[in-house]
């Protein structure tokens, strides 16, 4: 008995010592929460993304000693892609560090919907790079949402552009059948209004086909596709749903090169489980693709050479790893921009929001950062929280992703009215008075 009691006491003492030593952190630190998912059905895609984010923050600390001397402090919280867990993580992390969270990046459209109102109240920007609410492009209404580099409405337009190009012109779209196989969640439903607008404009027949979470059961959906024989199938999937879709397409002999995935359905974990069946499958690119760029040399030198990497060195050129890095970079650059105005110290979420809204990355700056070839210039403003609407298309050749198209830009004349309409509805529902973007500096 006595020995058990002593062991328990010693363990308690050790834990207490660990507890006391942990928060002995300097005050000159910028806290950035990381909401990630490394477990559950979406872990195959969530983990490489989180690794890219973590490694890039570490790179800034190791190589530059932080952002202008302000070290980045991070804490990860596992959401499992579940909305309620994500909200819990947000509440847990939002006020940590000397100034609270600089911004939040949930990597889930469902969590984004749940947090949109909370982040505006707490004055913490929510960066949703390539996902989130498409209407939040309108910064006048959504002051704290930043769907950087592309919303799902931009993605829908880019996908239809690619189809038109393959068919030989927009006039060839008339009378064609295009189906959307989507993850039945806010994520998958986001592109539907835009696709309906496009269907009306170009005269193609649009059929949305939902797939229930987590997406391993798609037999009936593909049976419907086999009967309907659409000319193209757009895939809006995530996690295990993507590779399942490819396998099911092969099972009903639907040509893989007539499938176009969104940029969340175009990474290595989406195609490799399907083996040879995935050859020919296409996907949009959120500007960047797989492969190594100048920044990877620094990652290898400062992180992996020192054994501080969060994944295997062979996996740092994957699509989602790169996307994590791009996302982290944009956040860091926003903080850097905000430091120009508010001083080189830890900043609050409200100050970082200013930095995000005034962030401009030129080609020269992108080259300086080592992201040349991954990104086109980004220019964020009050009325445009998206910042860029470029995309390319890549194709899986059985071994690697190959870029098969030039850069194209989403058609703003179609997206803008929809954004204005839907965001105005949100503003009316929530009694938000839109800011006057002409007066913002």
């Amino acid at each position: 008995m006595a020995s058990i009691a002593r062991n328990v006491l010693m363990l308690a003492a050790a834990l207490a010592a660990a507890a006391l030593s942990a928060p002995a952190a300097a005050q000159n630190e910028q806290f950035i929460p990381i909401l990630s998912y490394r477990t559950g059905p979406y872990a195959v895609n969530g983990a490489p993304y989180a690794n890219g984010v973590v490694d890039y923050y570490n790179l800034i600390n190791e190589r530059d000693g932080g952002i202008n001397g302000v070290k980045i402090l991070t804490e990860e919280c596992e959401t499992g892609y579940a909305t309620d867990k994500g909200v819990e993580c947000y509440e847990r992390l939002k006020s940590k560090g000397p100034t609270g969270a600089a911004f939040i990046n949930p990597l889930s459209t469902g969590i984004t919907f749940a947090l949109t109102e909370k982040t505006a109240t707490d004055k913490i920007p929510i960066i949703t790079m390539g996902y989130g609410r498409a209407d939040s492009k309108n910064g006048a209404v959504f002051a704290y949402n930043f769907p950087l580099l592309g919303t799902y409405w931009s993605a829908a337009d880019l996908a239809i552009q690619q189809i038109a190009k393959e068919l030989g012109g927009f006039d060839k779209l008339k009378g064609r059948k295009i189906s959307l196989l989507y993850h039945d969640s806010p994520y998958g439903k986001e592109p539907i209004p835009m696709l309906q607008v496009l269907a009306q404009k170009y005269g193609f027949e649009f059929t949305p086909i939902p797939v229930t979470h987590p997406g391993v059961e798609q037999k009936s959906q593909w049976l419907a596709i086999r009967q309907n024989r659409p000319d193209y199938v757009l895939v809006w999937g995530w996690g295990v749903m993507n590779s399942t879709a490819i396998k099911e397409a092969a099972a009903v002999a639907y040509p893989r090169d007539k499938m176009i995935g969104v940029w969340w359905s175009g990474a290595e974990p989406d195609v490799t489980p399907a083996g040879d069946q995935a050859t020919g499958y296409k996907a949009l690119m959120l500007q960047h693709g797989a492969g190594k760029f100048p920044v990877h040399a620094d990652i290898e030198k400062y992180i992996y050479a020192k054994g501080k990497g969060s994944t295997e060195p062979g996996k740092i050129d994957e699509v989602l790893y790169n996307r994590g890095m791009v996302n982290a970079m944009l956040g860091v650059e926003a903080i850097r921009k905000a430091q120009e105005k508010f001083g080189k110290k830890p900043l609050t979420g409200e100050q970082v929001r200013w930095g995000l809204e005034n962030l401009i990355l030129t080609d020269a700056r992108i080259k300086e950062l080592g992201f040349e070839g991954m990104l086109k210039p980004v220019s964020i403003s009050c009325s445009d929280h998206e910042g860029a609407r470029y995309g390319r298309v890549q194709q899986w050749n059985g071994k690697a992703w190959k870029v098969i198209s030039d850069w194209s830009t989403a058609d703003e004349s179609l997206i803008e009215p929809l954004v204005a309409d839907v965001s105005a509805k949100y503003a009316a529902e929530k009694k938000i008075k839109p800011r006057d973007c002409a007066k913002e500096t």
Binding site: L15, A18, A19, S21, A22, P23, S36, R38, T39, A47, E75, E76, C77, E78, G80, T83, D84, V87, E88, E91, R92, K94, S95, T109, G110, F113, A114, T116, E117, K118, R133, D184, S185, P186, K189, E190, I192, P193, P210, H213, V422, Y426, E429, K430, K431
Partner: protein, 375 residues
């Protein structure tokens, strides 16, 4: 010692039939309510530890209160009336979506009759209560099979309710007011001109609902109706022989239980989530509620609260503690550990005490009453 009831005489029938006949229980409850109604809001508004941030209020107490209410509802059906239900999540969803529709105005065009049913937006309180009522109606409807089928077969029938409503709220755009993403936003929480916004206000609102409903439920289960439910649970044929109508007893259990669950669902959506999608009320939620009442104790109102606390708070604690202590574990490992430890705890508890926390507490109470010679 402290729990001795010597000297507490019951001179009237009313005293004998009181909800809490023992004085110590009454004091304990008063202290608990005092802490919940006065202590917590005070600490929170002055930001005194552990309420320095909103975390405890927002992410722990608020969901705890609402899920405890839902667990009380589930316990009435499963614990008191013995009808296993896997549809609790669906009834929460009905409460939430009905309240949402009523609060934003209902419009049903009946083109073939040449007119439309239109209800203007109702106040939030009315919407929440009517949301509960709608859930009660659905509960009665899906309770009808319980007159024929029992046990696990009934569980499967209620599972049908779960899948049907999951499907309906996901697929029929009318329920979500044609929101493009299928995710809907709660209206502003306006209670007779008082707008509930801050976490403390939200907490007090939920606490009020939970207290009132729990007291009502507690009274119901020790009255005529509750005894009918328990008779049906213990042996339905015997109950029928002594003159209890199974139709009435079972359907009232379904109605009362669904009403409470529906109100909890509306609160979950309006007060806690603010913006939600049908996934918030999936089959996982139903199972969670069922586990809450099984772990907490079938047939015990207090057990529902303890079960809710255990199922909701324990995983979060297991997840937070390693990070707070600064142990060098990856989030992945922590999450796996959380599942392992939580799973083993449930196994251990159910082996040691299959009747749940409520039974543990009542055993403890008995021993305290007989102190210093408990047996």
């Amino acid at each position: 010692m402290l729990y001795r009831e010597a000297g507490q005489f019951k001179a009237t029938y009313a005293e004998d039939m009181a909800i809490f006949p023992i004085r110590q229980d009454r004091i304990a409850l008063a202290v608990l309510l005092g802490i919940a109604f006065i202590g917590v809001p005070l600490l929170a508004s002055f930001r005194i530890w552990p309420f320095r941030t909103d975390y405890l209020l927002w992410a722990i107490l608020l969901p705890f209160l609402i899920l405890a209410l839902a667990a009380v509802g589930t316990n009435i059906l499963v614990g008191y009336c013995g009808q296993i239900s896997l549809g609790s999540g669906a009834f929460m969803a009905i409460g939430a979506y009905s309240a949402y529709k009523l609060a934003t105005g209902v419009h049903i065009p009946l083109a073939w009759l040449g007119f439309a049913i239109a209800i203007p937006p109702l106040p939030v309180l009315a919407s929440i209560l009517l949301g509960g009522l709608m859930a009660a109606c659905a509960g009665i409807l899906f309770g009808i099979p319980s007159l024929r089928i029992k046990g696990l077969y009934l569980a499967v029938a209620t599972l049908a309710a779960q899948f049907f409503f999951d499907w309906a709220f996901l697929r029929l755009p009318w329920f979500t007011n044609y929101a493009p993403s299928g995710s809907v936003n709660a209206p502003e929480l306006d209670f007779f001109g008082m707008i509930v916004r801050t976490p403390v206000e939200r907490y007090l609102l939920c606490l009020l609902f939970v207290t009132v409903m729990a007291v009502l439920a507690k009274n119901l289960v020790r009255g005529n109706l509750g005894r009918q439910w328990m008779a049906i649970r213990d042996m339905d044929i015997a109950a029928e022989l002594i003159g209890i109508r199974p139709l009435y007893a079972k359907l009232t259990a379904f109605a009362v239980s669904s009403f409470i669950i529906g109100v909890a669902g509306a609160l979950w959506a309006f007060v806690y989530l603010g913006s939600w999608e049908p996934l918030a009320f999936s089959i996982d939620r139903s199972l969670e509620l069922l586990f809450m009442v099984i772990i907490g104790g079938l047939g015990s109102i207090m057990g529902s609260f303890i079960g809710a606390a255990f199922i909701l708070i324990m995983p979060i604690m297991l997840n937070v503690i390693p990070t707070e202590l600064g142990l060098p574990l990856s989030t992945q490992t922590i999450t796996h550990l959380q599942f392992i430890i939580f799973g083993s705890l449930i196994c251990y508890l159910l082996i040691k005490e299959p009747h749940g926390f409520a039974r543990l507490i009542s055993i403890g109470k008995e021993k305290l009453r007989l102190w210093p010679f408990p047996y």
